[in-house]
């Protein structure tokens, strides 16, 4: 029997291009108080936001760099351009987006995806959101999906009530940086009881050299409503470092259900230092489905604070670290209310000298009785020279908590490879299949089209992994 072998075309190059674009406005490289004021002024913001930014900037300056996680010694804040504005405004019609930017996103398949299987799409190019649209029927139901800057202006009540409440400006050095210079991101509001049937997607693109992208996403899902939000990220490969420091705040009000899916595929010169956190109120469910395959250094630990009784948290975090990459990822579940539950699954693969770190926290605070939580984190090391690290922090302060944690680290087993090879596969195909199976916990949570794409991405990452 001949087995038709699927060949994988390496299409990563298609994301590696960059546009020579004339920016409408950009700040000078480096960060000073004047930069912060300039960004705020350009955006014509209310005074309270400028004050907020300045407070955050002060904290950013005062706060020491983290001593843990990845190597940040080469990150030079003075070389980064903190704001680059590519277009005049955020468009609702694809036809109005400037041609060059439109072409970029068309090459990345964004409008096509919208037509096919999304409820709405947003696209951010360097510092500003260039396009946002949401299906008309959802708009009529009151679903809001727009750039965060626009959200601040059009929905000031919702915005002010929740902005900075989940991730305070003083939370960590990078949250402070984002709070000082944030620009763009998505603002989503789903009214009470509205179920958004198909995912909303945001697409983030860094184009310019040494660009810092500091998007700020605020998602409020009202009582009993539901939402699936997907984000994807790419950037061209410059030889110099780019910086992506996002803050994502999700508020799931009582009974709401939110799923937030990320497929991060930044180029290998991006520092990806992101704070993502959700508040889950009574009976709400929040799910972070997070994959990291790109960037030179990722430090990202999606967190869920379970504030209300019977809230549920689910975090699936997968990472693939290849040559020159350090994926320092994980999850955080903080139980602050009774009868809350959480489940964390972390899976990482490292190869060609990559470093994969799982860093996770489960905390059960006094008063959070009847908590059930489980953590599973597994790692595959595909070759010598690659490194796997696991740091699970488990802090329990209630006597009736039921917590279990398991982890294993290992290589692809020879027996499995042998079996698959005896069924006609090459060694590389066998390894691919095993790695895909290992990461299936993530792929099975994706809509089909994304799952296919992700599997293809993994196959590309795995090309030539063995000799």
């Amino acid at each position: 029997m001949t087995v038709a072998k699927e060949t994988v075309r390496d299409e990563r190059e298609q994301y590696a291009f960059h546009d020579d674009i004339a920016y409408l406005r950009e700040t000078k490289a480096g960060l000073t108080e004047a930069t912060v004021r300039e960004i705020s002024e350009t955006k014509d913001e209310p005074a309270w936001m400028l004050e907020y930014r300045l407070r955050a900037f002060k904290h950013f300056e005062a706060r020491a760099m983290p001593m843990w996680g990845g190597d940040l010694t080469k990150l030079d804040f003075s070389k980064i351009v903190y704001y680059r504005k590519p277009s005049e405004r955020e468009e609702k019609s694809w036809d109005d987006v400037p041609d060059q930017i439109k072409k970029t996103f068309e090459r990345l398949g964004i409008p096509e995806a919208e037509r096919k299987f999304l409820s709405g799409v947003g696209a951010q190019y360097d510092s500003e959101v260039v396009y946002h649209s949401v299906r008309e029927d959802l708009q009529k139901l009151g679903v809001v999906f727009m750039g965060t800057d626009q959200g601040m202006k059009e929905y000031p009540e919702i915005f002010k009530k929740y902005f900075g409440t989940v991730v305070p400006a003083e939370d960590n050095k990078f949250a402070a940086l984002n709070s000082a210079v944030w620009s763009g991101g998505s603002f989503v509001y789903v009214p009470k009881g509205v179920e958004v049937p198909l995912p909303l997607q945001a697409y983030f693109r860094i184009n310019g050299q040494n660009t810092g992208q500091f998007e700020r996403t605020l998602i409020v899902v009202d009582e009993g409503a539901s939402l699936h939000y997907i984000e994807g990220c790419t950037a061209p490969n410059w030889a110099t470092d780019s910086l992506h420091v996002a803050v994502v705040e999700v508020i799931a009000l009582p009974g709401a259900k939110v799923r937030y899916t990320t497929i991060q595929n930044w180029s290998n010169d991006v520092y990806n230092l992101v704070t993502k956190r959700a508040h889950a109120h009574a009976g709400a469910t929040v799910e972070w489905i997070d994959a990291n395959t790109g960037a030179q250094l990722t430090m990202k630990y999606p967190g869920i604070y379970l504030l209300g009784e019977k809230a549920h948290a689910e975090i699936v975090s997968v990472a693939v670290a290849s040559k020159g990459q350090h994926q320092d990822t994980g999850a955080k579940a903080v139980h602050l209310a009774p009868n809350t539950t959480s489940r964390i699954v972390g899976k990482s693969v490292c190869k060609d000298g990559g470093v994969a770190t799982y860093r996770g926290t489960v905390r059960v605070a006094p008063g959070a009785t009847g908590v059930t939580t489980s953590v599973r984190c597994d790692a595959l090391i595909l070759d010598e020279g690659s490194r796997s690290e696991t740091y699970p922090y488990i802090d329990i302060q209630e006597d009736d908590t039921s917590m279990s944690h398991e982890a294993t680290v290992g290589r692809v087993s020879d027996d499995q490879i042998f079996y698959l090879m005896s069924r006609g596969m090459t060694e590389n195909e066998a390894t691919n299949l095993i790695v895909q199976g290992f990461l299936e916990v993530f792929t099975k949570e994706l809509p089909m089209e994304y799952a296919l794409e992700f599997n293809r991405l993994i196959r590309l990452e795995m090309e030539g992994a063995l000799g």
């Binding site: 690659s386 699970p392 922090y393 488990i394 209630e398 944690h405 398991e406 294993t408």
Partner: protein, 433 residues
């Protein structure tokens, strides 16, 4: 009550003057000087787990300076030898003393004062080790060149009285193919619970020659007004095996570090550690295992029971460098909370550079007493309190059962049962179901 970290403790006696006094004739002074500098320079926590948990609160030992003790091992009377033991070593504020039974003498066991300039490995990297290396005031060396001693060597360490410190080093060197078992009893005269005003620091420095086997058990049942810091370092020759059972029951606060340096190919360690905290006790324990040899085995199990307002921080760092092929390592940390105000923190971490491993796993759990188990035991005629007691004692039994002397195991069971009864009696509201 003032709450400070060990790092902040001024330890007024950690000075050049003290180490000079502790080095009569200048012997060992260069080593102590280096260690003292390290003690002042090092952070309290030198690993990368970045916990804020290392604070040793409620210790007021700034003025509890270690006294100069006689640097010799006195002979004890034969009557001091416990039934079934091969030898006895006693360490206290009065100095060190020992008695060797017939089997130990015949096998060539030697128990001497530790040489004043014997280096303490790890003192450059760990603050507690540096403290002991700089300021130890008593040291005993136990060595066996060859052969086996079937009966255990008993080491009794008596904590100092309030207002003083005892820093004791115990170095154990076992030759090729030797077999020894050691039982450590760490205790002291009873005293009221409260702020720790005396410090006991011990280092256990064990070198295992090729194919040497050691069974080492330690029961720490200090009165609750003592602070206890301890470092253990085990270096493994080819094929050497260590069975380690540690019970941490007493002391107001305990900070412990265990290092397993599995350098020899085929060497292995099996460790069971039990921690029982009640009242305001704080336990902060970290086990490091470094699998640098090939086909090494590390099987580490820690179990903690916490009642009252006790806090337990149980951490593990298992490292498999590139040289460590074919290793088998497991790190398990399991906690049981008996009260709503107790706290259990587990951080079992792995750092792995070598994909060729047979097993590299860790697991942990924290949970209450399973109501189904209570129901079952009650259906067999036990009262609620008896059922709880049985379940907790069963949870801790793996460590108790690992002790080589029946009398020691029985004593530990009694210690644990007494502590459990007292803890259960103090919180009837929590445990009534």
């Amino acid at each position: 009550m003032t709450r400070r970290a060990l790092a902040d403790l001024p330890l007024e006696w950690a000075t050049t003057d003290t180490i000079t006094t502790l080095s009569p004739g200048g012997a060992g002074l260069p080593e102590r000087t280096k260690a003292l500098a390290a003690f002042h320079a090092l952070p309290t926590e030198s690993n990368l787990l970045f916990t804020g948990y290392v604070d040793l609160r409620a210790a007021e030992v700034e003025r509890a300076a270690p006294a100069q003790l006689p640097q010799e091992v006195r002979a004890l009377d034969a009557s001091a030898l416990p039934t079934g033991a091969a030898a006895i070593v006693e360490i206290s504020s009065a100095g060190a003393a020992a008695f060797l039974g017939a089997e130990a003498v015949a096998a060539g066991l030697r128990i001497n004062a530790l040489s004043p300039d014997a280096p303490l490995a790890g003192a450059a990297e760990d603050r507690t080790a540096a403290l002991i290396a700089a300021l130890w005031n008593i040291g005993v060396s136990i060595s066996l060149g060859a052969g086996r001693i079937s009966a255990p060597i008993v080491i009794r360490v008596n904590a100092p009285e309030a207002g003083s410190s005892l820093l004791a080093r115990i170095a154990v060197e076992l030759g090729v193919g030797t077999h020894v078992s050691i039982v450590e009893e760490i205790g002291g005269s009873a005293a009221a619970a409260g702020v720790a005003t005396s410090l006991l620091a011990t280092s256990s420095e064990v070198t295992l020659g090729a194919r040497a086997t050691l069974s080492l058990s330690s029961i720490q049942d200090l009165p609750e007004n003592r602070a206890y810091v301890t470092v253990r370092r085990h270096t493994f020759g080819e094929g050497a095996q260590l069975q380690l059972a540690v019970a941490q029951v007493g002391a107001r606060l305990v900070r412990g570090r265990i290092d397993h340096l599995l350098e020899g190919d085929g060497s292995g360690v099996r460790q069971v550690e039990v921690v029982f905290g009640a009242g305001d006790q704080i336990h902060d324990l970290t086990t490091y295992s470094l699998h640098s040899g090939q086909k090494t085995v590390g099987d580490l199990l820690a179990k903690g029971v916490f009642a009252g307002s006790a806090r337990g921080y149980i951490k593990g760092v298992t490292t498999i460098p590139r040289s460590g092929r074919g290793t088998n390592s497991y790190l398990g940390e399991f906690g049981m909370l008996l009260s709503k105000t107790a706290r259990s923190v587990a951080i079992p971490s792995l750092w792995i550079d070598q994909p060729d491993c047979e097993r590299a796993a860790h697991g942990s759990s924290v949970g209450p007493i399973d109501p189904a188990q209570i129901f079952y035991l009650r259906s067999r005629g036990l009262t609620d309190a008896e059922a709880r007691r049985t379940i907790v004692m069963g949870f801790l039994e793996p460590v108790v059962a690992a002790l080589p002397l029946d009398a020691e195991a029985e004593r530990l069971r009694e210690v644990l049962a007494a502590k459990l009864d007292s803890a259960l009696a103090k919180q009837p509201a929590t445990l009534a179901s």
